[in-house]
């Protein structure tokens, strides 16, 4: 029995996006309905998939009904199911925020949004390296559109950098894929893993080169130092819901790194074994350090949050960098928290900024916001969660990561940077909060522009704050269900760290057998 649900997260956004294009010049509310309903449906589907995978085997879906490894295959394991879920939920909430006006700033927003989700989901699901390239392109191209949505000088400039860097990245990606195919003669990732494990020594250098070249590309997507400097402007200057959605885009890079280097270049991969073991951890630690510097040094909440995205990437990859089951599990626990909370902070910054006519989200005193209690509470929640303070998810994720990184050379560094970084984030966010909500200019100062000179600041209705509130509400839930979540994380880590499961699911036992044999049976 084929489980068609697996491809629904791809086909539904594609279909809805197309329908939206067909309705391009219909009244906006129709497009909004289409977009939101699509996101909602995908969310439900992904939840079903999550529960299916939580206590089930890895599922595959072969497109065109051709035998693997010849046809393109979609693979749903626990990690990809979780990523799908995160994306769907985040997508829905960001869209819910965007329909409060952002989507009117330019054309084709809703169609692009759907295609964006299609690209991200495809990157999570596909089990074919060239198909991964295709989905990357879908994801990137729509992200270009979304980043530039609304226009404006700063935005266009930041977008230009983002676009050009990633275009070069795409070319390099193709080179990497080309080498892999030229040497191993296949594109299916599981098949690549098998053939890699049997590759002769004289091809070692080529294959490793391919792996490292691909790493450069993934590092660019994941915003790893020194390839992360496109991010602060791109995320800082684009519209808030887009920035919030993009909190998951860097995680795509992280996911792909985890996938490719635990499967094709896993420790069992013969000549390609343990390719990143000397690379990932140091790079990630430096990224973390610089990210923290950025958080401390920035003078606008939007940029602070953008740097926080880099910090979270650094943290994730530093923890993953030791490639152990426990640390990967810890990363899997940390990932949803950091994604949702940074996204929430982008939206909070937007809400606050719109009620501060002069300063926006900049770190300078301004008149009090119209709804201090509401916004203050939201900011406090987000800040506490991100700063890794109890009782919200950040604290527990941090504790888990610190506990799980044992006896590796990097452990003291990880501890020091994660905790020290937490302190500096606390400094930055505490300072921001004081400036936004405590250090206020008198409502109308003498010699100051009179109140009516400003565009009237909006007063938020429930529908405006609901998406953010919902996002923030996720944090306590993550804490409350911590037990189940950690369990799931370990189960997911099992699938990730041991490629045999994946290979067996895709190619069947007879193909995965030699590999298992070569590593003395699992």
């Amino acid at each position: 029995m084929i489980n068609h649900l697996i491809v629904v997260p791809l086909l539904l956004p594609l279909l809805m996006g197309t329908l939206i294009v067909l309705n391009a010049n219909q009244p906006i509310f129709r497009l909004r309905i289409l977009g939101l309903s699509s996101c909602l449906a995908v969310l439900i589907i992904t939840f079903i998939l999550l529960f299916q995978s939580a206590d089930g085997p890895i599922q595959t879906y072969v497109l065109g009904d051709w035998p693997t490894p010849f046809g393109i295959v979609m693979v749903l394991d626990r990690l990809s199911a979780m990523m799908l879920c995160i994306t769907a939920l985040l997508g829905l909430l960001c869209l819910a925020h965007a329909v409060r006006g952002t989507d009117l700033q330019g054309k084709n927003f809703h169609a692009l949004f759907q295609f964006q989700l299609l690209g991200i989901n495809g990157a999570f699901l596909t089990g074919d390296i060239f198909n991964l390239f295709v989905f990357f392109e879908i994801m990137l191209l729509s992200s270009y559109g979304l980043v530039l949505h609304g226009g404006g000088g700063l935005r266009t400039r930041a977008g230009m950098h983002y676009v050009l860097l990633n275009l070069v990245g795409s070319s390099i990606f193709l080179v990497g894929v080309g080498i892999l195919y030229a040497v191993l003669g296949t594109l299916n990732m599981a098949d690549l893993a098998v053939r890699m494990s049997q590759a002769p020594a004289e091809n070692a250098a080529l294959l490793q080169a391919a792996g490292l070249i691909l790493f450069a590309v993934f590092a660019l997507k994941a915003a790893l130092l020194p390839l992360c400097f496109w991010l602060p402007d791109a995320y800082g200057f684009t519209s808030a819901p887009v920035a919030a959605l993009f909190a998951v885009m860097t995680k795509v890079g992280v996911y792909v790194i985890l996938r490719v280097y635990c499967l094709i270049f896993s420790e069992f991969a013969g000549v390609g074994a343990g390719l990143l073991s000397n690379w990932l951890l140091p790079a990630a630690l430096i990224t973390l350090a610089v990210g923290v510097a950025g958080v401390t040094g920035s003078r606008d909440l939007r940029r602070i949050t953008a740097w926080l995205v880099i910090v979270s990437v650094g943290t994730l990859l530093a923890v993953i960098g030791t490639f152990q089951r426990e640390t990967i599990a810890a990363a899997i626990v940390y990932l949803p928290h950091t994604t949702f909370m940074t996204a929430a902070m982008f939206l909070v910054a937007d809400l606050i900024g719109r009620q501060r006519p002069d300063a926006g989200s900049g770190l300078v005193p301004d008149r009090p916001v119209r709804q201090p209690t509401l916004l203050g509470l939201m900011f406090l929640t987000a800040a506490v969660a991100i700063g890794g303070l109890p009782p919200l998810s950040g604290f527990f994720a941090k504790v888990m990561m610190l506990i799980m990184v044992k006896d590796s050379a990097g452990t003291p560094w990880i501890w020091g940077l994660v905790l020290g970084g937490g302190l500096l984030a606390l400094v930055a966010l505490g300072r921001t909060g004081i400036l936004f909500f405590w250090k206020l200019l008198p409502v109308n100062e003498p010699g100051d522009a009179p109140e009516n000179s400003h565009a009237p600041v909006p007063v938020y209705a429930l529908a405006d704050v609901f998406p953010v509130a919902f996002l923030l509400g996720i944090s306590p839930l993550l804490v409350f269900f911590g037990g189940q979540i950690t369990e799931f994380a370990f189960a997911a880590a099992d699938h990730v760290i041991n490629p045999v499961h994946y290979i067996e699911a895709v190619l069947g036992p007879d193909r995965s057998f030699p590999l298992m044999y070569s590593l003395g049976g699992q």
Binding site: L11, V21, G71, I179, S298, K439
Partner: protein, 947 residues
């Protein structure tokens, strides 16, 4: 469960006071919640006094050893009692203290939040859980200190407290995690039993230091003491509650808690006792010179915390008892004194000792209560402070203190005691005795009864304990200290008179010395002013923070300099390095065994042309039109190369794409500057040139490495299955539309997205084309070349027929939907170029969005039909049919899919080109979606445009 409820009630109920607008209800609800918790606590009394430790455990996150577990040890009980008891008094007091304009509901909410967190600290059984509450107190104290947000000192104080205690918390977290790793559990019961293991472990020192850092920051021990005095910007009830009685004691609570595990080592002894001693003396000294009543009390608090720390550092059983006793006593008299200071402030409008004097006539009750409090603070006999202080002084002479410590500690303690007496006298005498002050903001009088009640109660406790210690404090201290010391609990008896001994002498010396000091204070002040300059932690802290922010900012400005060229340079370099390393480190040969095929002249010529073209593109890139031409030669040669090496499909595609691309570039160039200014420096050009040569060399080497290696590919399957499985002889096309149809699906999606974005980018974007190019040469006025127009129009149907042919043969011979689509698009574009939009638009009457979308839907639809037959998405089938004229002819479902491709290509390419073509010229307005506009266009006379 009742155990868990004690801390949880205030936490969960914290938001209740916010609900009410009525001030009575605010206070009442808060008091009620605290009261219930207190009752629940007292229910535990019988168990606790028999020395048992009731525990409630519930699993939470096993993976990190976090359980939802609480315990009530005697010590925890004592603390919880202080928190709730004093808490209730504070609730009552604050009801009168908080002014009407302040949001009282919020105040009580914060207060309850803190109360719950503090209870959590003292009642947690699991260390991580304890940590949770620990940081929660930092947050709530931050909110409480900043309660008067409009005051700068409040904001600064709050920030400092947050960063220092919060940061210390992070250090302590690390310490706890290490401790948990050493012991293998985070349950206090296990940890308290694991002294030997912990002391033996190599990580013990670092663990200890980390945990002590946490405790010291919280308890404002040297060198972190400075945040506490600035925390006094908080409303007085907060100072009384958090910053004297409870929160700042969390640190010493933790020290006492850890004595059985971490204590007893030299490291512990020296670190803790010295820190304590320094803090004790330094703060006591500072307190003498504070004119602000609350400042004086704040420093006195710090110094008393130092005293307790010193006792715990000494760590002998009796010292621990003394510590516990003093915790209790200090909480009583200091909280009371703060409230009294608040009353004075409230009734006179100032807290400045210089201005206050002679209040005892106006405020006799307050005066008496203050007298009692100061008595306790100074350690005067018959007041509670005396007893614990004397126990302390006795301990400073204890056998544990050998060598230098043997005389440093006692001397220092006595000196500190002298200071303590001095500042106590100053507070009492300076404020209440002497001439009644004339120039007070308000005329002083006794406060309302409700306000005096709470300090009154506390002072009563001070007296009672001071006179009948064994009866009033005995059991509590017994239980508290017993919980820490367990078996080696000393037998002692609390009494006012211990006979004439050294400690008594020291106390007397202190009292006498204090009086002398107070009399001589004028001289001391001058010396003090001199010290202050060097001892102000606040400025140090703030400059440190400022420096951090600056440094971060500078680093980022340096790294993220906003230059794309640098980012790209770094990216390409990184890729090169990463790609080169494996070859550098490994000995494997670059080239493989496969022999080189011979070179034929034609190919050689082709190759040379390509190389020349590429280089020429670089050479001429400043003259943009020239560069485009060079570029196009490269593209064409690549196409030729495809034909040369048996890839006809690629050749066709490459050429058609080439054409459209060049058209695009040309259209763009109509608006962009036609030349590139010379601006990159020679060095940069050399640098870039060097990098690109390296890149090129690497690329070439890579290609050789591949071309000379054998490989076995999955393609044999495609070759074998193409006809039987895919129903087409052109394997490439079958792969595209069938084997890997999903890639093609994505590919056309990309095209569609590009169309959408380009439309979005150019929507409402008009730019007047310059009349001349950069050289000043005017563009031709003849926008629509006649000949082209007259050739192209008849050509259109032919071209469409041709692309239909290309499309149909696609499945079996080179061709297919994509190429056909591009040809169609090109021809249509040529119509636009030849005749202009105004002429063409109404004659090609359709919306490209729709075409594009229909194409996508067609492709999707073919894929989905296979669901109906319960096959995976995109499963194909095919059928042979015999048509007249064409003959035997095959229809594959894949061809419908290909049709979708065709439509998407046409739609998106036209969308791009038309939109692009319409920004520059005057007739931009005439491009629009709706047919309505087109109708109006049709009536427009065309000739004027198309001359």
């Amino acid at each position: 469960m009742t155990l868990a409820l004690i801390p949880l009630l205030p936490l969960l109920g914290a938001f209740i006071p916010c609900i009410f607008q009525n001030r009575h209800l605010n206070a009442a609800s808060a008091g009620l919640i605290a009261g219930i918790s207190l009752v629940l606590l007292l229910l535990q009394t019988p168990l606790v006094f028999t020395g048992e430790i009731p525990v409630y455990t519930r699993s939470w996150i096993p993976a990190i050893g976090l359980t939802f577990a609480f315990r009530v040890s005697g010590f925890g009980f004592l603390f919880a009692l202080l928190v709730l008891g004093i808490g209730l008094l504070i609730v009552l007091y604050a009801r009168y203290y908080i002014a009407t304009e302040d949001p009282m509901g919020r105040f009580y909410t914060y207060l309850l939040l803190f109360m719950g967190s503090m209870l959590g600290i003292v009642l947690s059984e699991n260390l991580i859980l304890l940590m949770v509450f620990w940081e929660l107190t930092s947050i709530s104290s931050f909110l409480l200190i900043g309660f008067w947000r409009h005051r700068a000192d409040a904001r600064q104080g709050a920030f400092m407290a947050l960063v220092i205690t919060g940061g210390g918390g992070f250090a302590m977290l690390a310490g706890f995690l290490l401790l948990g790793r050493i012991v293998g559990s985070f349950e206090l019961t296990d940890i308290l039993a694991a002294k030997e293991i912990v002391h033996a472990h190599p990580l013990y020192p670092i663990t200890l230091v980390l945990i002590l850092t946490g405790a010291f920051t919280k308890s404002a021990q040297f060198p972190f003491q400075f945040w506490l005095p600035h925390a006094m910007a908080a409303p007085t009830p907060v100072s009384a509650f958090l910053h004297s009685a409870t929160m700042v004691k969390a640190g010493v609570f933790l020290l006492a808690l850890m004595v059985p595990v971490l204590g007893g080592s030299a490291l512990w002894f020296y670190m803790v006792s010295l820190t304590g001693l320094i803090t004790l003396m330094f703060a006591a000294y500072m307190a003498m010179f504070k004119d602000d009543l609350k400042g004086l009390l704040a420093y006195s608090t710090v110094s008393h915390l130092g005293l307790i720390t010193l006792l715990l550092g000494i760590g002998s059983p009796m010292a621990v008892v003394a510590a516990v006793f003093h915790i209790f006593n200090h909480a009583a008299f200091k909280a009371g004194l703060f409230m009294l200071a608040g009353i004075i402030d409230h009734e006179t409008g100032t807290r400045d000792i210089q201005r206050l004097s002679g209040l005892k006539k106006a405020m006799p009750v307050t005066a008496v209560l203050t007298l009692i409090g100061c008595g306790g603070m100074a350690g005067v006999p018959l007041f509670n402070g005396f007893l614990s202080k004397e126990m302390f002084l006795a301990e400073t002479l204890g056998p544990g203190l050998t060598g230098a410590m043997g005389w440093i500690v006692p001397l220092g303690s006595v000196l500190a005691a002298v200071f303590a007496v001095a500042y106590s006298i100053r507070m009492l005498h300076g404020v209440f005795w002497g001439q009644p002050a004339a120039d007070l903001p308000r005329s002083p009088h006794e406060p309302p009864v409700g306000m005096i009640l709470s300090p009154g109660f506390l002072m009563a406790v001070c007296i009672l304990v001071g006179v009948f210690p064994a009866f009033f404090a005995g059991p509590l201290i017994q239980a508290g200290a017993g919980a820490i010391l367990g078996p080696d609990m000393p037998d002692y008896h609390l009494a006012v008179w211990h006979g004439f001994n050294m400690a008594l002498v020291m106390s007397m010396v202190a009292l006498a010395g204090g009086v002398v000091f107070y009399r001589q204070r004028e001289k001391l002040f001058d010396a003090h002013v001199w010290c202050l300059r060097y001892l102000d932690g606040k400025t140090l802290f703030e400059s440190l923070v400022a420096w951090l922010i600056q440094a971060g900012n500078r680093l980022i400005r340096f790294l993220e300099n906003g230059s794309l060229q640098r980012y790209l340079f770094v990216f390409i370099t990184a890729t090169l390095v990463l790609g080169a390393i494996p070859f550098a480190v490994s000995r494997t040969p670059l080239l493989g065994p496969v022999p080189i095929t011979p070179l034929d002249p034609a190919t050689l010529v082709m190759g040379l042309i390509l190389i020349i073209g590429a280089v020429a593109t670089v050479k001429t890139h400043r003259n943009r039109i020239l560069a485009i031409i060079m570029l196009s030669t490269v593209g064409l040669v690549v196409a030729l190369a495809f034909t040369r090496f048996s890839a006809p499909d690629l050749a066709l595609t490459q050429i058609s794409v080439e054409v459209v691309t060049i058209i695009l570039l040309m259209m763009a160039l109509h608006l962009l500057p036609t030349t590139t200014p010379k601006e990159s420096s020679k060095t940069r050009q050399w640098r870039d040139g060097f990098l690109s040569v390296l890149a090129g060399g690497g690329a070439a080497a890579l290609a050789m490495a591949i071309l000379t290696r054998p490989y076995d590919t999955i393609s044999d399957f495609f070759l074998a299955e193409s006809v039987p499985g895919g129903g087409g002889t052109n394997v490439v096309n079958v792969i595209l539309v069938d084997f890997r149809g999903f890639d093609t699906m994505g590919e056309i999606t990309v095209l569609a997205i590009a169309g959408l974005i380009i439309y979005a980018l150019l929507h409402g974007f008009e730019r007047k084309a310059p009349a001349t190019d950069d050289m000043g040469r005017p563009w031709t006025r003849d926008r629509f070349p006649m000949i082209l127009a007259y050739i192209i129009r008849p050509l259109l149907p032919l071209a469409l027929l041709f692309s239909a042919y290309i499309f149909l043969r696609g499945h079996n011979d080179p061709g297919g939907g994509f190429i056909a689509g591009l040809i169609t698009a090109t021809v249509l574009t040529l119509q636009y170029i030849a005749s202009g939009i105004v002429w063409t638009r109404p004659r090609l009457h359709y919306d490209n969005h729709i075409i594009m979308a229909l194409g996508l839907i067609l492709a999707l639809g073919t894929g989905l039909t296979s669901w109906a037959l319960n096959y995976p998405f995109l499963t194909s089938t095919y059928e042979y049919v015999r048509l007249p004229l064409i003959g035997k002819f095959e229809i594959a479902s894949a061809m419908v899919f290909d049709m979708g491709v065709f439509l998407v290509v046409v739609g998106s390419v036209m969308l791009m080109l038309v939109k692009l073509g319409s920004i520059n010229s005057e007739d931009a307005r005439t491009v629009s979606f709706s047919a309505r506009l087109d109708e109006t266009l049709d009536n427009k006379p065309i000739e004027k445009e198309a001359h």
